[in-house]
Symmetry: D2
C-alpha cells in the first residue's frame, strides 16, 4: 500500500451538528478509521439499509477506533427535511452517533459536502483511513462482509 | 354473527386528502371492507411494518372489495410531519392508496379521528366491515395471517 | 358458493404418521378447515418458507378450527429422506403438528398422495373446507395475507 | 501482531471430501485465509445463518485469497446425516465450496476434527490465518461486519 495513491478526503461543510457536543472536523479524527454515512431521512434505501448498517458499524467497533459520522445530504424535498424534521427523525430512529447537516449550496439542490465528494445519491458510504484518505466510496447497498473487510484492513494500518 | 354487537366506525375528520381525486367518506365505502391504516411518517414501526402491510393488503385484494385508506395521525413531532413532508414521504415510499391527514385538534396533540377511534398510537390497523362496523382494532404489529383471516371473513359477509 | 363445484379432496395414502398418537383420516376432520402442507425435508423452499408458514398457521388458529397436517411427499433423493431422517428433522425444526409420510408408489418416484392430488412439487399448500373439498391448491410460495384470507373465509362457512 | 501467540490450527481428519477433486489439507492452503465452517445439515441455525454466511464469504472474496471449507461435523442424529444425505443436501442448497466429512470417532458421538478444535456445537466458524493459526473461533451466530473485519485484517498480513 502506498497512501499517496488514495484521494485525500475533502473537508466537511456543515451547517449544524446534531448528537455532538462540539463541531467535529475530519482533521480531528486522524488516527481513527472514519465511516461517513451520507443519507436523507426520507430516502427509503437509507432507512431500510444504510442507517441500519451505520448503526451496526457503530455497535461493532470501539468508538475510538472507528468513528461513525452521519451526513444529512439533502438534495431533494428540501422543505421536508430541515433541521427540525431531522431532529425528530434522529430521536425516533435512535441514532447514537454524530450527524452533520450538509451545508446547502448557494445555488442548486446539491449540498456542499455532497458536491465535494462527488456523491451520486443516498445512501453513500465513505470509508476514510487513519491518515484522511478515501478507501471506499459506495453509492447504494453494499453487504456487511465487504464493508467489514475494508474496515478490518484499515484498522491494521499504522498511524503516526 | 349479529352486526349490532359491533361498534359503528366513527366518521373521519380529515384536513386534507392525498392520493385521492376527491374526499372520501367512510359512508361512501359501504359494501366494501375497509382497511384503515393509521400511521406517522416518522414512526419506525409504521415504516418497517405497518406501511408494508397496508401496501400488501392493497396488492392482495381487488380494490373494490377491500379499500385501503391511510390515516396520517400525527400526535408527536407535529412540526416535522406537516402536509409538505407527508407528500414527499408518500412519493418516496410509493404509497398508492388514498391517505387522509387526520384533523389536528384545537387543543392537545391528538388529532380528531385518532381521538374518535380511541387509538393508542401508531401503527394502528382498523378493519371495518361492509356495513361500517369495526371488526378489528389493533395497535402495533399483527401478523399477516391473522389480518388476512379477518379480511377473508368480512369479504364473505352479505351486504344489501 | 355451491360446494359441489369444488373438487373433493382425495383420501391420504400414508405409510407412517409422526407427531400423532393414531392415524388421522381426512374424513375424521370434517367440520374443521384443513391446511395440508406437503414438503420435503431437504427442499430449501420448504424449509425457508413453507414450513414456517405451516407453523404460523398452526400458531394463529385454534387447533379444532384449523387442523394443520404435514405431508412428507418425497419425490427425489429418496435415500436421504427416509423416516429416520424425517424424525430427526421434525425434532430439530420443532414441528408440533402431525406429519404423514406419503406412501411411496410401487413404481416411479412420486408418492401416492402427491399423485392423487396432482401436486407439481414441494412446497404445496392445500386448503380443504369443512366438508372435505379443495378450496386452495398452491405450489410454491403464497403470501400469508392471501392464505389467511382463504382460511378466514372457510372458517365462516357452515357445517352440519 | 506476533503469530506465535495464536494457536496452531489442528489438521483435519476427514473421511470423505465432497465438491472437491482431491483431498485438501490445511497445510496446502498456507498463504490463503481459511474460513472453516462447521455445520450439520439438519441443524436449523446452520441452515438459516451459518451456511448463508459461508456462501456469502465464498462470494465476497477472491477464492485464492479466502478459501471457504465446509466441515460436516455430525455429533447427533448420525443415522440421518450420512454421506448420501449430505450429497443430496449439498445439491439442493447449492453449496459451491468443498465440504469435508468430519471423521467419526471410534467411540462417542463427536467426530475427530470437532474434538481437535474443541468445538461446542454447530454452526462454528473458524478463521485461520495465512500461516495456519486460529484467529477467530465462534460458536453460534456472528454478524457479517465482525466476520468481515477479521477477514479484512488477515488479508493484509504478510506471508512468506
Amino acid at each position: 500500500m502506498n497512501a499517496v495513491a488514495y484521494e485525500r478526503a475533502p473537508s466537511w461543510s456543515v451547517s449544524q451538528w446534531m448528537n455532538a457536543r462540539d463541531d467535529i472536523t475530519l482533521e480531528s479524527l486522524r488516527g481513527s478509521v472514519v465511516a461517513l454515512h451520507a443519507f436523507q431521512m426520507l430516502c427509503p434505501g437509507c432507512v431500510s439499509h444504510g442507517i441500519p448498517q451505520a448503526k451496526a458499524i457503530h455497535a461493532a467497533f470501539p468508538p475510538d477506533k472507528v468513528r461513525v459520522i452521519g451526513l444529512h445530504s439533502v438534495f431533494e424535498h428540501h422543505e421536508a427535511m430541515g433541521p427540525v424534521a431531522l431532529a425528530a427523525f434522529l430521536s425516533e430512529y435512535r441514532l447514537g452517533f454524530p450527524v452533520a447537516v450538509d451545508q446547502p449550496a448557494a445555488q442548486g439542490p446539491i449540498p456542499l459536502t455532497m458536491q465535494a465528494y462527488g456523491m451520486q445519491g443516498t445512501p453513500t458510504l465513505v470509508l476514510i483511513d487513519k491518515t484522511g484518505h478515501i478507501r471506499l466510496h459506495h453509492f447504494g447497498q453494499l453487504d456487511d462482509l465487504r464493508v467489514g473487510a475494508v474496515i478490518g484492513q484499515l484498522l491494521t494500518e499504522p498511524f503516526g
